[in-house]
Amino acid sequence: MQETQYASGQSGPPNLSVLHKAILGARRRIVTRRVLRLCSRVLCAISIPCALSVAASKLRWIEQPSPIVLGGVMIVSVIAALIYALTRPLTDIDVARITDQRTDLKERLSSALEFSGQGVAADAPFYHEQFADAEHYAGVINLKMAFPVKITWETPVGVVCALAVFLTYFLPTLPMFWTPQHKLEVAEVKKRGIEIEKLAKDSEKAADQQKLDETRKAAAEARKLGEEMKKGKIDKKQSLVALSKLTKKMEETQKRMAEPVAKKSLAEAHKDFQKALDKMNQEKKEEEQKKAEEMKKLASKGQQPPRDMQKPGDEKNPQQKQSEAMREAKQSLQKMADALANQDHQQMKEAMQKLAEQVQKGEMSKSEMKQLQQAMQQLSQSLKDTNQQQAAEMMQQASEMMQGSSMDSKTLQQVAQMMNQAGKQMGKGQPSSMMLDSKALGDLAQMLKDGRLTQPMGKGGNGNGGNGPGRGFNGHGGPSTAMKDPGATNPILVAKGIPNANGGKGKQGSAAEFAKYLATTSAGPKKLPNGKVAGVRSENGNELQMSMTGDPQAARSNSPYYQVVQSSKKQAESTLDKENIPASLKKQVKDYFDSIR
């Protein structure tokens, strides 16, 4: 029986400070144990499958999972477990009961808390003694013994598995584990990054001066990419992919800029118009020949030609008058066709103004006006969807006016006015800044794509640009070469059936071997195995078709990497189609080529 710590006769709520302190301590230890236990279990439960999936991918049973996904799943799971362990409800009564159980206190602590919660007075018979008893035992219990913070087996297992997954991905990224080839690759990427950054900066500056928005934006993106490459934040494969994406984007932007300017070129318009003019002339000639033959027939029979056939001859010197009016008009139309061919907007304007003058004079007959109306309509149709869309619409209106109403002087004046406006519109041409921007963007994209990093951005006319190699941006810088594949060393292609006298010691391998190599290589073709692929006969059997694998660098070629990739890809794809590649590897090969495209 324990000595009571209370003064007899104490009323009011009991003072259970020692008990509450013990409960607080027990609560902390319970939460700590819970966090450790739950997090360990979750880590163990998640990291084991992750490690197994990595192992399976190494055995090429499945595709290699993304390290970000694996790491993310593990981290999120552990954090979720941690949050759950910390926030799971834990009442004082529960803590007291579990403490009672673990210290064999026979519900002394929990009973005291429950009585206290019921509002029992501290001096009530039996309760008073019970509180004192609970306080006494709360003061002497050993919480470390009751709630030892132990590391369960799940902790080391989970940590080891997580570490294994982490190291599988992380170790190969450490420079000390890099192969010499990979080191070369990184150096090459950095060098290329510096070049891209320089080019992008120059382009950005020039674009800023000339107010070429799209070019400036693209140059800024290229500069960012160059910086990343320079800092080594991205590897070769990533840089190639990013560069490819950037150039693609630039090309698309350029295309988009070009679209509203001309869906159809003026050259095409010229073709259409010229064709229409020729057709009209041909029809006219045929009609005249037909009339002449009929007249001849009637004259030989001694008959008078009908009135409608005689009509042109009734007027005084009508042929000469008609010819002058039409000659002028035809000359103007031909001038217009030439202007379209030359894309000379000024000439187009002049031709249209001359046509307007002819119309305004009112010297043309009805049939001539009809011909002119048809020509105008043809011109309008030809110019439709070009950058002269607005002028085409005006011509269409003028043509409709010529067709619909009687040709009084007022109408002729209106038609001429409309044609003049169309001429003015044609004289305006395309905004030069947009053209410049589009061209500059295209040049930049091409330079990035081709690896001509010190090529000037063609401006034309200012003396600083030009397209010749060996000149830098706006005339600065020296010549450079495209980024080579540093993984390629001395590839030698060995043809089947031909003794390799001068071929060196290249590896011979099948497409399956090649595919296997690709599947097991994480970052790009560091060193593609050189070798041949078994050839196939053509249908008639006279021709042996043979595909080669290997690097074009074998011939010390200076071809840019991007050009070589396309041909290599085609070779590999055709090889894959012909060879028996495991289904699981086919996709990997395809993905590889998609990624470096």
Partner: protein, 335 residues
């Protein structure tokens, strides 16, 4: 030290003194002695079941000697009449020569009554006894006579020789606080029994406490507080004896026809309080409930045909119930 603490200390000491006196005569069977004493202190009655010759009658007699209480023994036989237990009015002549009916008290008017082989009497007689047990009074010729306090009935019954017996009905079994199973002595206990009974005469039993002390102890035990969670556990245990209860384990659902009445819960709580006091605590623990549940509930579980056919022991079912209840009420804190 507070009064309660002093009384508690005294409670334990008195209990142990009585137990020590009984142990002078009764060898082994410590749980039976504890059970009988707990019934005495809780104000309930005990049914002792065991084969003849295990010292049931001796235990009761020794108990009565050690507590300085009056003792009577009734051997139940088929021809025993209720009046033979309760007493009857007899016609007697006064000093003046007048004749009058005078109540002649039966053997039930004692502090401790041993109802030996209670299942051999007819139900009519049994019910007369059981009425006295419940009401602590007997009514003869319309006049109620209060029984002495403390009043304890210790009934015995023989599980074998069932020929010509009248098994106690469930309602009457329910009146017993405890059912105690008297087991055969162990090797060592039997050796001691032989030594004590065949050698020198037995030691004299002293009365170490009186009836008044017992009543005080009884009152003290009732004051022991019980936490709500512990009470909830007791309730769960009692409800789990009923096959249609959600708390019942599968074994109960399969083998039990009727479970415990609320008297079972009363018996558990009352006796658990005494257990707590005897353990030196001022609160009832789950362990107390678990330890008293078997003797308090085993006679309140009525097995169904399947249970009887499978010879299921009620004790096994109660242990199942306790395990399930402990698991369900255990705090789940995730450690």
């Amino acid at each position: 030290m507070s009064d309660i603490e002093r009384e508690s200390v005294s409670f334990i000491a008195d209990f142990n003194r009585v137990k020590a006196e009984i142990s002078k005569v009764i060898v082994g069977n410590e749980q039976i002695i504890d059970g009988v004493l707990i019934c005495l202190l809780a104000g309930g009655h005990a049914l002792l079941e065991g084969v003849p010759g295990l010292g049931k009658t001796l235990l009761v007699r020794t108990l009565s000697q050690s507590v300085s209480l009056t003792f009577s023994r009734v051997q139940f036989t088929p021809d025993l009449m209720p009046a033979d237990i309760t007493g009857t009015n007899i016609l007697s002549e006064t000093a003046t020569g007048q004749k009058e009916f005078k109540f002649q008290a039966g053997p039930v008017f004692a502090n401790i009554v041993l109802a030996d082989e209670i299942n051999r009497a007819t139900p009519k007689t049994q019910s007369a006894m059981l009425e006295a047990m419940q009401e602590h009074a007997v009514t003869v010729a319309g006049i109620q006579h209060r029984l002495k306090q403390p009043f304890l009935v210790l009934a015995t019954q023989n599980p074998i020789e069932m020929e010509g017996t009248y098994p106690l009905p469930e309602a009457q079994l329910d009146r017993f606080l405890y059912k105690l199973l008297v087991k055969s002595p162990t090797f060592e206990d039997l050796a001691t029994i032989i030594d004590r009974t065949t050698g020198v005469p037995q030691q004299e039993i002293e009365a170490v406490i009186d009836g008044e002390t017992i009543l005080k102890m009884r009152a003290l035990a009732r004051e022991v507080p019980m936490a709500p969670s512990v009470r909830e556990f007791a309730i769960r245990v009692v409800l789990a004896t009923q096959p249609d209860s959600p708390f019942a384990p599968n074994s109960v659902k399969q083998f039990v026809r009727f479970g415990s009445s609320p008297r079972g819960a009363q018996a558990i709580v009352t006796t658990a309080k005494i257990k707590a006091l005897l353990s030196g605590r001022f609160n009832v623990a789950l362990e107390d409930i678990a330890s008293v549940a078997v003797p308090a509930l085993r006679h309140r579980l009525i097995l169904n045909f399947e249970g009887q056919a499978e010879a299921i022991e009620p004790d096994t079912l109660i242990e199942d119930i306790i395990k399930k209840s402990q698991a369900e009420t255990a705090p789940k804190v995730g450690v």
